[in-house]
Symmetry: C2
Subunit: 147 residues, 2 copies
DNA sequence: TAATGTAATTCGATAATGGGACTAATCGCA
DNA sequence: TGCGATTAGTCCCATTATCGAATTACATTA
């Protein structure tokens, strides 16, 4: 049949594969209470903390959803809410406690994935993949932070 | 900061962008009752129908979830369940009625996206992107149909 | 043909998501 | 400067999505 596989499906498959591997790695390390939706929010917290609204935008969920998930992450000891010195309305969500423990685990698994993908594609194609996706951000990500 | 953006996030952004555009196109054409979860299932129905279990695998949801979503799609007139001549236990989910109307809309929007992305990346990088993602399927997609 | 495996469904519980309204703080501009 | 418009976050609540476990019906195989 030689069916053309749609770009959307190709992206979905790769995205989910990476996501599942990382979540699985974290869970295998004993953090079994972390859910996928929580992890998606947590993964977008920057080193200096990130506002709730920004987390919601990046993870593409409504503010209430992000708030709900941050509540859980906070109760489970993965993150904390702190004040935002720049704006008294806002609060910064920060990685904390158990959250700090899973960051290196996630990073490590991410490196594993990159290594495997590179082995499969070759260094050159892997670089091209990252390059293409990075360039795409300027037209696909309305909230992209400037480089 | 020049923060390294993770591959997972890059894939997420691109995947969601494509997905949202297509769903939005379909909804704008008047099919406002279609949900994202339903669309993800519907998008994986092949030209000759697809089994529920396969839809579940491809969309990465449990069988019950796929069943639940197909119920809705059927009630809304987008798909139908037919018998599978090869196996009386199985049933083939087929595009039907209103479903047939949205296929060209989705395909058209998909072509738009490809055109825009190609304009942004250049023909060469776009080809490389598709090539890399396609190659990745062999290690990321346990249910990949052979080329 | 008995045992084992597979496709799909049902039931029930839980997780995730968003709409709408609300409070508090900030911003913008006349 | 002060007031209306905007923005960050929360609360309440209804709906949607998701899965575990058990069940039925058919297939496969020893």
């Amino acid at each position: 049949m030689s069916e053309e596989v749609s770009l959307g499906v190709l992206l979905f498959v790769a995205q989910r594969a990476a996501e599942n591997r990382i979540l699985e790695a974290v869970r295998s390390a004993g953090y079994t209470d972390l859910t996928l939706a929580q992890a998606r929010i947590a993964a977008r917290i920057g080193p200096d903390g990130t506002r709730l609204t920004e987390l919601a935008e990046q993870a593409q969920v409504a503010k209430q959803t992000a708030s709900f998930l941050v509540d859980q992450l906070e109760r489970s000891g993965y993150v904390e809410r702190t004040v935002d010195p720049a704006d008294a309305r806002a609060r910064l969500v920060r990685v904390a406690g158990r959250g700090a423990e899973i960051v290196p685990i996630a990073r490590h698994e991410e490196a594993n994935i990159e290594a495997e993908w590179t082995a499969h594609l070759g260094k050159r194609r892997m670089t091209q993949l990252r390059e293409a996706l990075t360039m795409l951000r300027t037209i696909t990500d309305p909230f992209a932070s400037p480089d």
